[in-house]
Each structure stands twice: as structure tokens, then as C-alpha cells.
């Protein structure tokens, strides 16, 4: 294979691997901005992966699977919000609970409904629809942007949409202020609690969609604990991306590239573990650098101090 072909393949793989991280990462950054550390992304993604496969198997429609995944992710987001805001659970412990619940239920139902342990795949599971961009089909390298699953395009569009919402609309201002100066927001007459519900439900929907891309966009199967820490990678991406939508996009592409590289190098028997450690190490280094470069200024809060 020539060099251009390799670049094109890597680009396509990077886009494919990044999409779930982008989607869940956007959910994480919205939560973080409004002052909630959301470690439940992992569980919300996992429920999304499972629901997508379940619904696609029984209806034969990838679209329905995707919608159901977003819906159930949203339900889990609501549950997370309810326990955090109404029942005053500590948000980290509630996050651990959601992750455990999601792992338990998906594994248990996999066993109970499909009678398998480990992984479930079937020709009856329809994957996500693929979009072709005819204009790019003839261009080498850029061809990689065509023929991706619908959620790849959705994820990149959502980055732009959220960038607009966060920085150009009153709702975005309230979300950004909600994490830093909650009293000011409440004093201005905003129903901050309701906004938090909306944000956490949205983070659930986004993570659920990310999960759907894992099980229907990259492959058409579900396996036990399929997300395997991708929710935490998404969290890392938001921190590495400085909690901005464009930064999160960039970080997710870097982490997606690391994923793609791991798979490629594995064929040459290169240890995958060291590359897979990259995102986490980069995130820790970012945290330290950001704190040191902004010490004493208001931005330190974004660097991972408890957002409450």
C-alpha cells in the first residue's frame, strides 16, 4: 500500500474511533461547565451500546437503535440528576453507582435475553447508516471523510452547535456561569437546578449516542463491558481540551488517532499498552501545566478542582 493510502486509512479510522469520545466528551464538558463532575459517562455509554444492539436486533433498524440508545442514555442522565440534585447524593458516588448499575444490568440482560456470556453478534443486527459525500469520493485522502457512519457527522456538527450555544446564547452564558458563580446565576433569577437537569439529561443522551456508535458504527455487536473505559477517556478529552467544545474535538481526535495507531501497530506486534496509556498521561500533564500557568487566576477551577 502506498503512503497516501496509509494516511487515508488512518484518517478514516481516526474519525471512526473519535466519534464516541467526542459525543460523550461533549456531555462531560457541559456537566463540568455547570459545576458537576460527571464520571457516569462510562455507564451511560455502556447502556447506549447495549440498547442500540438490542433495538436494532429486534427492529432491524440502525436508526431506531441509535434513537433508543440516546433515549435510554437520557433516562440514566435523569436518574443521575435526580439523585444528585433532589436526593443530595454525592456526585462521585452517584457516578460510581450509575457505572456499576449499567455494567450489571447490561451483562445480566445479555445473559438473560440472548443466553450468551462475553459477546453477542448476529446478522440481524443492522449497523448505523453510512453517509456518502459524492464530491469527496474521487479525492485521495479526503475520501476518508466520506462513507462514515451518520454519528460521525452528527458528532462534528454537535461540536459546532455547542460552541455556538455556549458562547453566543444566554443559555450558554448561564451554563458557563453556573459552575463558577452559582450564586450570581441564581440571583439573576435563573432556575439553575432546572438547567442542571437539562444539562445532565443532555450528557446522558450524548453519551448514549456515543455508545451506539461503538456497538453499531464501528462494529455490529455488543460485548460485556464494551466501553472498556471510553467514558473515562472522554472525561480525559474534555480536560485535555480545556473544557471547550473545539478543544474537546481536538483532544478526541488525538485520542482517536492513538486508538487507530494501536490497532495498526498491533499487526506488527508492538505493545499496545504504552500507546493506550497516552491519553491518561497527557491529561495528568495538562492538569499540572494548566494549574501552574494560571495559578491565582479564576481559570484554575476548570483545571479540576471540585466544581462544587
Amino acid at each position: 500500500m502506498n503512503a497516501l493510502g496509509v494516511v487515508e486509512m488512518m484518517l478514516a479510522a481516526t474519525l471512526r474511533m473519535s466519534a464516541p469520545i467526542i459525543l460523550a466528551g461533549l456531555g462531560g464538558l457541559l456537566s463540568f461547565r455547570i459545576g458537576m463532575l460527571n464520571i457516569a459517562l462510562e455507564g451511560m455509554m455502556l447502556i447506549g451500546s447495549f440498547t442500540a444492539v438490542l433495538v436494532s436486533y429486534f427492529t432491524g433498524s440502525g436508526y431506531l437503535g441509535m434513537l433508543a440508545a440516546g433515549f435510554l442514555g437520557g433516562v440514566l442522565g435523569y436518574l443521575f440528576a435526580l439523585f444528585n440534585l433532589k436526593f443530595k447524593a454525592h456526585n462521585i458516588i452517584a457516578g460510581v453507582a450509575v457505572n456499576t448499575l449499567a455494567l450489571g444490568l447490561t451483562t445480566y440482560f445479555l445473559r438473560t435475553f440472548f443466553g450468551v456470556r462475553g459477546a453477542f453478534s448476529s446478522p440481524k443486527i443492522a449497523g448505523l447508516p453510512v453517509f456518502r459525500l459524492p464530491g469527496l469520493e474521487a479525492v485521495p485522502v479526503l475520501r476518508a471523510f466520506s462513507g462514515q457512519s451518520v454519528l460521525v457527522y452528527v458528532s462534528i456538527s454537535l461540536v459546532l452547535l455547542l460552541h455556538y450555544i455556549l458562547y453566543q446564547t444566554p443559555a450558554g452564558l448561564r451554563i458557563r456561569a453556573g459552575g463558577r458563580h452559582p450564586m450570581a446565576v441564581v440571583t439573576a433569577g435563573v432556575n439553575l437546578e432546572r438547567l442542571k437537569y437539562i444539562v445532565l439529561i443532555a450528557s446522558g443522551v450524548l453519551s448514549g449516542l456515543g455508545g451506539a456508535h461503538l456497538s453499531l458504527g464501528q462494529l455490529t455487536m455488543f460485548s460485556e463491558n464494551m466501553t472498556n473505559g471510553r467514558g473515562f477517556i472522554a472525561m480525559a478529552a474534555t480536560i485535555f481540551g480545556q473544557n471547550t467544545p473545539l478543544g474537546t474535538l481536538g483532544a478526541s481526535l488525538v485520542f482517536g488517532f492513538a486508538d487507530a495507531l494501536t490497532m495498526r501497530l498491533q499487526t506488527y506486534n508492538f505493545p499496545p499498552f504504552l500507546i493506550q496509556m497516552g491519553p491518561y498521561v497527557l491529561t495528568l500533564v495538562t492538569l499540572v501545566l494548566v494549574v501552574q500557568s494560571t495559578a491565582g487566576r479564576g481559570r484554575t477551577r476548570l483545571a479540576g478542582r471540585l466544581p462544587q
Binding site: A94, Y280, R305, L306
Partner: protein, 346 residues
């Protein structure tokens, strides 16, 4: 008075467990097995014979360590989500000492392997400890990152430089002199359980009978007040995480020296996260943690038998565990007050 306090402390965990079991009945129904039959099998699997009871204790052992690690850090107001990583580092350290210092006699080798595990776990948690105390970086984020790094790093070590004779990513077996003692040859129960109980007793003494323990608990209740009291918050936080990491590291050593006899990559099915549940169930009290660990050990041992004899998968347990944490975490649910007294932060 003491009786009322005890009732208050016990009421919420007990009710939580009952609710979780009730939800479990609903989940069992679609399998076609009668829920009562499933629960009976589960109970017999945990307590039906000496061997089953030993399995219960063996399954409780790692949870005792991770539960104590979580509870001790929580008592000081630190969220050590990183016990999983500290456990992996401890396990790897114990394995390396047990393999490469094989010539030492058991009374040197065993303590050396355990000590190496504790130090490795402690050092690993120094990174988030330092980042929190000196830079103000949230320990939840840093320990989650450190967990993933630890899992991957130890998997790398077990698959490349220290790979043993097996096809999977695992080291060689540790020397016989390094192995913990087993109560029966067939059971996984080993002297690590006793070490866990000793650690629980020491923690109880430290937390409730020493000035250091008082400072730790003061930190957990009100950090500012502790600071006014003269507690060096930064140094205490680092020490707190170091000790918590040591306990988790010992938990890893128990699994290597007592159960698997070698380091196997990804051997932990999330012991640290179950440990958080155990800590909450035990109300962060070392003796409560012991009870919580025994409870979860019994559930796990019972679930193995339930899966073999009925249609109900043992993964039911993980689901129930999620419900238990969710209910325990909710301060505004299942509140009990048997007598009036002013509100006290937990």
C-alpha cells in the same frame, strides 16, 4: 442511648439491602427461576457448608482491603477512586519480589513481598496526593487517570518484560516460600484474611484512639475548621492517601500471594469499586467495613452457586450493587432519626 445510635446506624444499610433484594426478585422473574429458590441457592452457596463458608471469606478478603482503603480516605474527606490502580501496583510489586527473591526464607520473603506491595501502592497514590495537596487538582480526576495508567502499565509488564510461561499476559509463579497459608488445600481462603482483620483493627485504633485519627476525622467533617485547629491540611492529605494506597496495595498482594500465585493482567473485576460500596455500607467504620466485606463476599460466593444450579446469572449481583450504592449515596432517602438531635455533617 447507645442502642438508639446503633439502630440509626444499622437501619439504612439494612433497608437498602432489602430494597435491592426486592428489585432483584423482579430481575430474576424473566429467567423462569422462582426468586425464592434463587435466593435460597444463593444463601446455601454462601453458608451451606464449611467449604462454601471458606469461599465467602476468601471472596470477602480483597473487598476488606479495598473497603478499608476507601473508608480511611473518605473519613479524611478524600475521594480515593484510585484504589484499583494502587491494588494493581501492589500486586505487581508482590509478584516481582516473590519471583525474583525466591532464595530468601519464608519469614523474610513473605514480609518483604507484603511490604513491597504496600509501598508500591502507597507511592502510586502519592502522585494524586501531591497533586491535590500542592496544586489543588481534584483527586477524583487524577486517581481515575492513575487507575487506567496502572492497569495498562502492569499489563505491559506482565506481557513483555516479566512474562511467564503461560500464553496469557501473566508472570511466573511466586516461590512457594512467598505464598500465604491456606486453611484447606482446595479453598482460596488464606492467611491474607487475617492480615485484613489486623489492618481493620489497627485502623480502628488509629482513627478513634489517636490524635492523628482525630485530625483525619476533623478533616473529613470540616476542612476549614481542621485548618484553624492547626492541622497541616496539605501534609495530612498526602499522608492519608499514602496510607490508603498502602492498604489497597496489600489487597493486591493477597490476590497474588494467596490466590492466583502469579500476577495476571486485569485480574481485578473492579475490587476497588465494590470496595467503595463496602465502605459506604459499613458507614466508613473499620468494623462496619469488615461486616460489609463479609456481606459482599457471601453474595459473590452464593452467586457462583446460584449460577451453576439455576438460570440466574451471577451478574445480577453487579446490578444489585449499583442499586445499593445509589440508595446509600442519597442523603435525602431512607433517613432515620430515632431521637431528635441537631443535624450533624457526615
Amino acid at each position: 442511648m447507645r442502642l438508639f445510635q446503633l439502630l440509626e446506624a444499622v437501619a439504612k444499610p439494612v433497608l437498602t439491602i432489602l430494597i435491592a433484594l426486592a428489585v432483584g426478585t423482579i430481575l430474576i422473574l424473566p429467567t423462569g427461576t422462582h426468586p425464592l429458590e434463587a435466593y435460597e441457592t444463593l444463601f446455601m452457596g454462601a453458608f451451606g457448608s464449611w467449604n462454601n463458608f471458606f469461599t465467602t471469606l476468601a471472596r470477602a478478603t480483597p473487598l476488606l482491603f479495598t473497603g478499608l482503603a476507601a473508608a480511611f480516605a473518605f473519613q479524611g474527606g478524600v475521594f480515593n477512586i484510585g484504589a484499583e490502580g494502587q491494588l494493581y501496583l501492589g500486586a505487581m510489586a508482590a509478584a516481582l519480589v516473590g519471583i525474583y527473591a525466591a532464595a530468601w526464607p519464608w519469614f523474610v520473603l513473605q514480609p518483604a513481598a507484603l511490604l513491597a506491595a504496600a509501598v508500591a501502592g502507597g507511592l502510586w497514590s502519592l502522585v494524586p496526593g501531591y497533586m491535590k495537596a500542592r496544586l489543588g487538582i481534584n483527586e477524583v480526576i487524577s486517581t481515575i487517570m492513575m487507575n487506567n495508567i496502572a492497569t495498562l502499565f502492569t499489563a505491559y509488564l506482565a506481557t513483555y518484560p516479566f512474562k511467564g510461561e503461560l500464553y496469557i499476559g501473566a508472570t511466573y509463579q511466586v516461590a512457594p516460600a512467598a505464598r500465604l497459608w491456606h486453611i484447606t488445600p482446595r479453598s482460596a481462603l488464606n492467611s491474607g484474611f487475617l492480615i485484613g482483620i489486623i489492618v481493620a483493627l489497627i485502623l480502628y485504633y488509629v482513627l478513634y484512639r489517636t490524635a492523628f485519627g482525630y485530625e483525619v476525622r476533623a478533616l473529613g467533617i470540616n476542612q476549614q475548621f481542621a485548618q484553624y485547629m492547626g492541622v497541616d491540611v496539605a501534609r495530612r492529605t498526602i499522608l492519608l492517601l499514602f496510607i490508603s494506597g498502602m492498604i489497597a496495595g496489600l489487597g493486591g498482594a493477597e490476590q497474588v500471594l494467596g490466590v492466583h500465585l502469579r500476577f495476571i493482567s486485569n485480574f481485578s473485576p473492579g475490587y476497588a469499586f465494590t470496595g467503595i460500596t463496602v465502605a459506604l455500607l459499613g458507614r466508613l467504620h473499620p468494623l462496619g467495613v469488615l461486616i460489609g466485606a463479609l456481606f459482599f463476599g457471601a453474595l459473590e460466593a452464593g452467586a457462583l452457586q446460584m449460577e451453576t444450579l439455576t438460570n440466574v446469572s451471577r451478574d445480577l449481583l453487579t446490578g444489585l450493587q449499583g442499586i445499593i450504592i445509589l440508595l446509600l449515596a442519597a442523603e435525602m432517602l431512607l433517613k432515620f432519626k430515632f431521637r431528635t438531635r441537631e443535624a450533624r455533617p457526615e
